[in-house]
């Protein structure tokens, strides 16, 4: 099982789509840096999140806060830096998309 990190906005970069395509069931995606813009409800990227219940979605809290965003916690769980480390440990590999 793989932890994928995504650090670019889905409006500017194709990596969210590219990453989802390579995800296996049970993989996780952690949005970091500008990647956290994908987590906002009522947008195309949020719909994409809803369409992939086989993937576990997370967003890095410090990056959300910095940008004035919050997560609804329904489909995207918020983790702090310690949670980021825990995810990297829990999953067997980390794959970075940038």
């Amino acid at each position: 099982m793989i932890l994928h990190t995504i650090n670019k906005s889905p409006y500017s970069s194709a990596i969210f789509n590219d990453c989802l395509r390579l995800c296996s069931d049970g993989d996780a995606i952690l949005f970091i840096e500008d990647g956290v813009y994908a987590t906002q409800q009522g947008t195309d990227s949020y719909q994409l999140i809803e369409q992939h219940p086989e993937v576990n979605f997370f967003a890095l809290a410090p990056d959300l806060e910095a940008r004035g965003l919050t997560s609804d916690q329904a489909k995207v769980l918020t983790v702090d830096d310690n949670g980021f480390v825990e995810l990297a440990v829990k999953y067997q590999k980390v794959q970075s998309w940038y």
Binding site: E33, D34, G42, A66, R67, L69
Partner: protein, 121 residues
Amino acid sequence: MSVQKNLLLICRKAPYGNALPREAIDIALAASAFDQNVSLLFSGDGVWQLLKQQKSDSINSKNHGKVLSALALYGIENIYVDNDSLKQRNLSKDNLLVDTKSVTINEIKALCNNCDTIFNF
């Protein structure tokens, strides 16, 4: 620098992930300090720059919202936001910390065509 030109800065990128959005605002401030006629358009991911309640201590970064508040101090009043970009991100003007004029795509084309120089950041 006695000549006054119309300078349009298009801010298209999200803040924090990269330094370009901040460096674009620095250009706006410098141009205004040199008496140029500066307009700013926030479009695409650039509209995220305008979001209220940015708390960038969490990532040890300077607050971009505060950077933007310097625009008023420098007398930069022509601040536009791309209405379609807001909608696409499920945002409205209520979410924004700066007073902006919401513009349509045709108004944006007019802005581009009526200025002397465009910086796209």
